[in-house]
Symmetry: C3
Subunit: 154 residues, 3 copies
C-alpha cells in the first residue's frame, strides 16, 4: 500500500510511538516552567531570573532537553530503520533519564541533575545503531547480525 513504510519492519511502529512519546515529556517539562514562572514571578519575555537560582534550574532542565532533542530524534528515527526494537529501547531509556535529570535539577541543587546521567546509555546506544546503520547501508556487515543467530529482528 503506497503511503505506508512498507520496506521497514512492522516494529518501526514502536520507534514512531517512542518519538511521539517524547512530545509528552517535552510538554511536561514545558508545563513545569510555566508553573515556575508563576511561583517565582518571572514574566515573559525574560528567560532566566536574576535572583532565583531555583527558577533557573527548572528552566535549564527544559532547555537542556531541547538542546539534545534534534540529535535524539534523528538518531532514533534513522537507527530505528535497521534496529527498531533496540532503538525503541534506547529511546525509552533516554526519555526516562530526561525525567530523572529534570527531577534532580528541580531540587534546586544543579549537581542532582546527574541522577539522570543514565540517559547517556540511551544516547550512545542510538549513536552506535546509527553508525551501524550507515555502515550496513554501505554494504559492511550486511549479513551481520546473522539470521541464524536469532538477532535478525532487533
Amino acid at each position: 500500500m503506497p503511503g505506508t513504510l512498507s520496506t521497514l519492519s512492522d516494529d518501526y511502529g514502536y520507534v514512531i510511538l517512542v518519538g511521539a512519546g517524547s512530545f509528552f515529556v517535552n510538554m511536561w517539562l514545558s508545563r513545569n516552567v510555566i508553573k515556575a514562572r508563576k511561583e517565582f514571578k518571572v514574566e515573559y519575555p525574560a528567560m532566566y531570573s536574576d535572583d532565583s537560582n531555583e527558577f533557573n534550574c527548572v528552566q535549564r532542565a527544559h532547555q537542556n532537553f531541547l538542546e539534545m532533542y534534534p540529535v535524539f530524534l534523528s538518531q532514533l528515527f534513522i537507527g530505528g530503520t535497521n534496529f527498531p526494537r533496540l532503538a525503541s529501547g534506547f529511546g525509552i531509556i533516554y526519555l526516562a533519564g530526561r525525567v530523572a535529570y529534570a527531577k534532580g535539577y528541580y531540587t534546586g541543587e544543579p549537581k542532582n541533575r546527574f541522577r539522570g546521567r543514565f540517559m547517556a546509555i540511551g544516547l550512545l546506544g542510538l549513536l552506535g545503531l546509527n553508525i551501524a546503520t550507515g555502515l550496513r547501508q554501505l554494504g559492511f556487515f550486511a549479513t551481520f547480525p546473522a539470521r541464524e543467530w536469532g538477532f535478525r529482528n532487533c
Copy 2:
C-alpha cells in the same frame, strides 16, 4: 529508480516542500533579530538585553520557534509518510501560526503572542498523525481509512 522515495506517495513532495518552507520562516525570524540588535544596540555575544523588553520579545519569538523546531520537523516528515496531504496542511497551519505568534510578540506586549495560538491545531494534528502512523505500522487500522471511503490519499 533508486534514490527516489518510491514507496511513498507522490504527495510526499508537498511534505518536503513544507519542510523547506520552514527554512524561510526561520530566516525571516532570524533577520528580524539581527535588525533588532542594531535598533536596540544589543551586541554579540549577548543573547538578551538587560534593559530593552522590546528586544527580548523579538529574540524570544525566534527562540521559541527554534525550541519547537525539532518536534515539528520530525512529526511532519514521519506523519507525512502515511498522511501526506493532511500533514502538509497541518504544517502550513503551524507555520502560519508561527508568523502570527512572532508578529504579536513584536508588539512588545508578550501576551499578544497568543495571536498565534492556532499553531496548536497544526502541532496537535501532526501529533495525531504520528500516533496513527505508528499504530498502522504495527498493524492496527491497516485498512483504515478504507479505500471505499475515498480517504485513501489523505
Copy 3:
C-alpha cells in the same frame, strides 16, 4: 531484507555517517563550554556570564550550532535520499564551517565567527537539494539529471 533502507542507494550510508559525525562536533562544542565554565567560574544553572564576554562567546558558539541543528539534520536526511553524495558533501562543508565558526568565536572577538561563514554553502546547498527532492517526488524533473549525462548517482 526488511529493516534495511532498500529503496535508497547504498550511498545513503554516507549521509547517515555524516549525521553521526555531527554528534562528535556537538560533543566537542559542548566540552569546550564545560571547560570554559571552569576557567571563567560560571556555575550551573547560569547560562551566560554577567561579566565575561569571553565565556559568552564560547557558549554562543555552541548554542548557535544547536539552533541550526534541526534544520541541518532534516535537510541532510531528506535531501540525501535523492542526492546522497551531494548531500554528504554539503554536510561535511557545513560541519567544517561550524568548527571554523566556533574557533573564530573562541578568540573572544564576535566578528571572527564569520571565519565559518562558508557553512552557508553547505546549508543553502542542502536547501536546494531539498527543494529538488520535493519537486521530483511530485513528478517534476523526474528524468533530470538524465542517466546519459552520468549525473545519476549524485
